[in-house]
Amino acid sequence: MNLIEQLPALPIITPLLLAPITILLPKGKISWLYATAISWLIFFFCAMLLHQVYMHGPISYFLGNWAPPLGIEYRVDLANALLLFLISAIGALVFPYSYASIMAEIDERQTPFFYAALLLCMTGLLGVTITGDAFNVFVFLEISSLSTYALVALGARQDRRALTAAFNYLVMGTIGATFFVIGLGLLYQATGTLNMADMQGKLVGLDNRMVQSGFAFIFVGMGLKLAMFPLHLWLPNAYAYAPSSVTAFLAATATKVALYVLIRFFYSIFHAANGIDIGSLFATLQYVVMPVAVIGMFVASLVAVFQDDVKRMLAYSSVAQIGYMLLGLSLGSEAGLSATMVHMFNHALMKGALFMAVGCVVFRLGGHRISHFTGLARRMPWTAGAFIISGLSLVGVPLTVGFVSKWMLLQATFEVGQWIPSFLIVASSLIAVVYVGRIIEIMLRSPDPDNPLPSVKEAPLLMLVPMWILVIANVYLGLQTDLTVDIAKGAAEAFDLVVRGAR
């Protein structure tokens, strides 16, 4: 077996082959060690893949040696290599983190199932990202979604509302996925192919209602999956009541992958198939996506301000951040696209760290309401420090990654002369200051001398280290902007590259 040659298949087949074995392993430590080892293995593969793509350009891998468009193709360019790297990196950090956290939050007998489900979820997300076949997207999306429903429901031991949250997520997610399949069916009817690159080629010159309705179905379906503003209702509860490590993983990856699929369809397929639909695509971007993004940024941020539950607050903030990403995508320029890519990456870093910090609080103090954060800076200084730094990054303070992506987004809006969105970006960042500042203020509040809070131990090292790796990444990549920006620019070009290749 030639490792380099088989590299694109390995991140998918490894967890698919090994994850089920987890449920046969004894509960607790052994299954955790096993799953963690797998996640690191996947991370290794994905890192190699990113390196290969960065050095040698896009890779195409034919499943079963059947060449596309008949066969299924795994196609890795810089855009999805970056996302693969991100997903596997978050996975590799969440698995070590989850050991203590999960032991405290779910029944110990369920831990092997938990790790298996988390690995399968990761497999699904990686599969969605890597595949070049449109129907495969649906299949992998459902693999990840089904395991996500189960994972969210596992939070029921902490709070029974996790069950209703998971149920709502299931209903919305299934409707979204089914819409996506309907859209795919329409496109298949119009083009006779499921391979994305081939579909793009076939769509050239086709501009009829069938294609347009297919586009609309895919847009709405993916909008549900990525929690685009008016379709986001499943997200806050699902994130709030899922086990902490699940929330950290999902917030950092799941919506990003759905967004990636949307970008893939927008830019690599519809946009690239020049002539078709180009008018309606840009109309959609300008009159649907952009307002939705801007309203989402504002409303979700405002709602976040009034949450008592920190996890819910961060979940609403995620909806707002998705608004930023959609805004970048709606500009229809390469700068906007690369801003979206950078923000996808950076948002994963900061939300991952923030939810991990909340997880530490839950682990020691048993809850994630604002009251639990009182005086946290003295009680759990490392956790509080991580929360503050990544919270500042969420606001977009200079020297953090949040600043980089917001700056890029601003530049992109200036470039196309969209003054109103650029003003709104700044304004909604100010709202973020309010909701993040509120928590930071409570954390830094000096203890009441009359009624001293019982002191608690700092979270275990196994939880702190992954969290701080993310925090350091937040700062380091905020200083060393070239690395991410370079890759993201390349990634944004990769979407256009498909066009040039096909023409």
Binding site: M1, N2, Q6, A9, I12, I13, L16, L17, P20, I21, I23, L24, Y61, F62, L63, G64, N65, R160
Partner: protein
């Protein structure tokens, strides 16, 4: 629960259903059928057994633990076949690598046979597990319990 006719009929049907499931399983690469259908049919025989003789009796014959192992082994068959082709120098799921010297793509045949076998195993155990879990739950729970 002593329905003689039901019990005799069920006993008569049990083996033919299993046989039919195996037929569907291994005929799947030439005709209609395949692992998914076969797995469901296979599970149906056990579900019939459980309906007639009670869940406890069925679980004695086919315990949850065995099902769990079958589930995993099935997936390993499925994914493992794909992985084996990679080890043999083909691409993922490139079944031709299983029989490289064959002139009529015998590898494809072997590959699909193994994969379908794995699928059948997993579907069977999953279906039965789902049935066990739904059927095995308490109809009403004590208010104390929640």
């Amino acid at each position: 629960m002593d329905h003689l006719i039901l019990r005799v009929t069920a006993k008569l049907l049990f083996a033919p259903i299993l046989l039919f499931a195996l037929y569907v399983q291994f005929h799947g690469d030439y005709g209609p059928g395949g692992g998914f259908q076969a797995g469901v049919i296979f599970a149906v025989s056990f579900i019939l057994h459980a309906l007639i003789f009670g869940l406890d009796q069925t679980q004695k014959a086919m315990s949850q633990r065995i099902l769990l192992v079958l589930m995993v082994v099935g997936i390993i068959f499925y994914a493992g076949t794909g992985f084996a082709t990679m080890l043999l120098g083909g691409n993922l799921l490139g079944y031709d690598a299983l029989a490289p010297n064959s002139t009529h793509h015998a590898g494809q045949h072997w590959g699909i046979l193994l994969v379908e076998f794995g699928v059948g195993m997993t579907v069977f155990s999953t279906m039965l597990t789902i049935f066990y879990h739904y059927a095995g739950r308490e109809p009403e729970i004590d208010p104390e319990d929640w």
